[in-house]
Symmetry: C2
Subunit: 346 residues, 2 copies
Amino acid sequence: MIQAKGYAAQDKSSELAPWNFHRREVGPHDIQIAIRYCGVCHSDLHQIRDDWGGATFPMIPGHEIVGIVTNAGTHVKKVQAGQWVAVGNMVDSCRICDNCRQGLEQYCTTHISFTYNSTEQNGLPTYGGYSNIIVVHEDFVFTVSEKLDMSAVAPLLCAGITVYSPLRHWKVGEGHRLAVLGLGGLGHMAVKFGVAFGAEVTVLSTSPAKEADAKALGAHRFLVTRDAEQMKSAAGYFDFILDTVSADHAFDPYLALLRTNGTHIVLGLPSEPATFRLGNIVFGRKSMAGSLIGGIPETQEMLDYCAGHHIVADVELIDMKNIYVAFDRMVKGDVRYRFVIDMATL
Amino acid sequence: MIQAKGYAAQDKSSELAPWNFHRREVGPHDIQIAIRYCGVCHSDLHQIRDDWGGATFPMIPGHEIVGIVTNAGTHVKKVQAGQWVAVGNMVDSCRICDNCRQGLEQYCTTHISFTYNSTEQNGLPTYGGYSNIIVVHEDFVFTVSEKLDMSAVAPLLCAGITVYSPLRHWKVGEGHRLAVLGLGGLGHMAVKFGVAFGAEVTVLSTSPAKEADAKALGAHRFLVTRDAEQMKSAAGYFDFILDTVSADHAFDPYLALLRTNGTHIVLGLPSEPATFRLGNIVFGRKSMAGSLIGGIPETQEMLDYCAGHHIVADVELIDMKNIYVAFDRMVKGDVRYRFVIDMATL
């Protein structure tokens, strides 16, 4: 067993605090990684508080992991010691269901091993990236170009792939009008990718103050959703709305912004059920769709695309001990656009 | 003006009764039709009762119209007197918006002239097919092969195209598992088209008694939705669910039946908003979509397809005076599968 340390929650009402634990020995197909950066995802906070139910403790959150290979199993060919690599939301899956065979491991119908608050295929608990070491099967480890700023790569592993995957699946690009609802960790990556793919990108936000930021990220247009006149004038305008909002919200006002055949793509998981009038999709042959992170081949494709197009997240680097300062600011939306923990400060 | 007669509702609380009115003179591009058959659509009853609001009276319902050309304007080339023709949900549209130019007149963004309870492009009211004569611009008149049973063609103009259009739009066919929710006027046509297009078709129904009927129509499988075991065993099974139910109903149990990338297509307009858990579309990249009737080119395509494949509706022919007997039975679901009025009985 490998001695490791991290920040863990011991139960749903306790705060993250230093905790010593063990990682498994490096097997023939495993890669041992010294974690250098880990992004802070809103779901980290939801899970340590057991907001979605079913949490298991102790829990070490973190699934936007970038680090350096320190050891590799005898059968590992894809990396060598000293190389930068990354790990995202998953560390394994059943590998044999239809979805796994198609590289859609995120929709594995049998058993996904999420990076934390989950179990390995053998049933042992998984622990996330708020830690100094992780051991992962090579098939779930990504290579990262050294051309990129590594701290700014970390958020690509969740916020990045969560927007990249639906944009690719629905073939969003030139000639399309894309609306990005919400300008946070996911939203700011959606603007960058949408612009890179050739779409006309509009940020939809409740706050007029975000217009300058949206434009600085490359957005072509900005729409204040609380302005009834602006909403009315954009009726029937968009081909796609990428909805990154995880808080409960109405859908009818956004469905009205879609043109015929338009698609509203939900990426967040509000706690309340969605409610909308069916006439708002029947008239105009519109769709409301969902999408969850991305598969393993697509995540590597995204990282390679980012290297080729110099795309990374905008981040604020923090020390491990300041995680609750970061959580508080994240909940208020006061971050441009993702906190990343410098794991050297653990 | 042309003297005509029909069955009209004078206001939302009065029953349909004989009414004399006028049709416009036949213009250069108009076709005058002696109506022989008119299908009875559930929306006819909704509209004369003003269930959806905004109704205008007097109202003559009926938008599943088959008849014989008795007169054609000087510029009309597509038909001649004595020929069988049909008219559906629309008698005109703006013709210049993007959707109209693409043959998606049903999604006209300016002004659709529905066949009744609507207005012509010049603002005059439209009156439907529970009448002896109709005058329609040739562009909104369809030709019908004389090979088909004309009374059984009538329901194709609404029930038929409403299911044909989404099956074609989503390219449902060989290799797909299609579920048809509800076995009424729309549902029985969805089974026929789904089977003709090569899909594996399953009828979902609350009533085990409908299994024999479903199989007789060509369905390969039957699932009783009130049977928890059957529902559980079909989890993740279907590529598409065609939802023909116009009553309020839950969606979560059906979303669970979809496989990854599956689509639930809503065709009805329940009065209450749809409510479902977003996790049920995010996990599995599923969609809930809507679809409204079909465009003019696609409706002609459907009628030609039906002629080539000997597909018509299963109908019960009724006399005009028995319309309320038919309405009562329709509301109870006691019809296999569409009432059609023999307009010779007007």
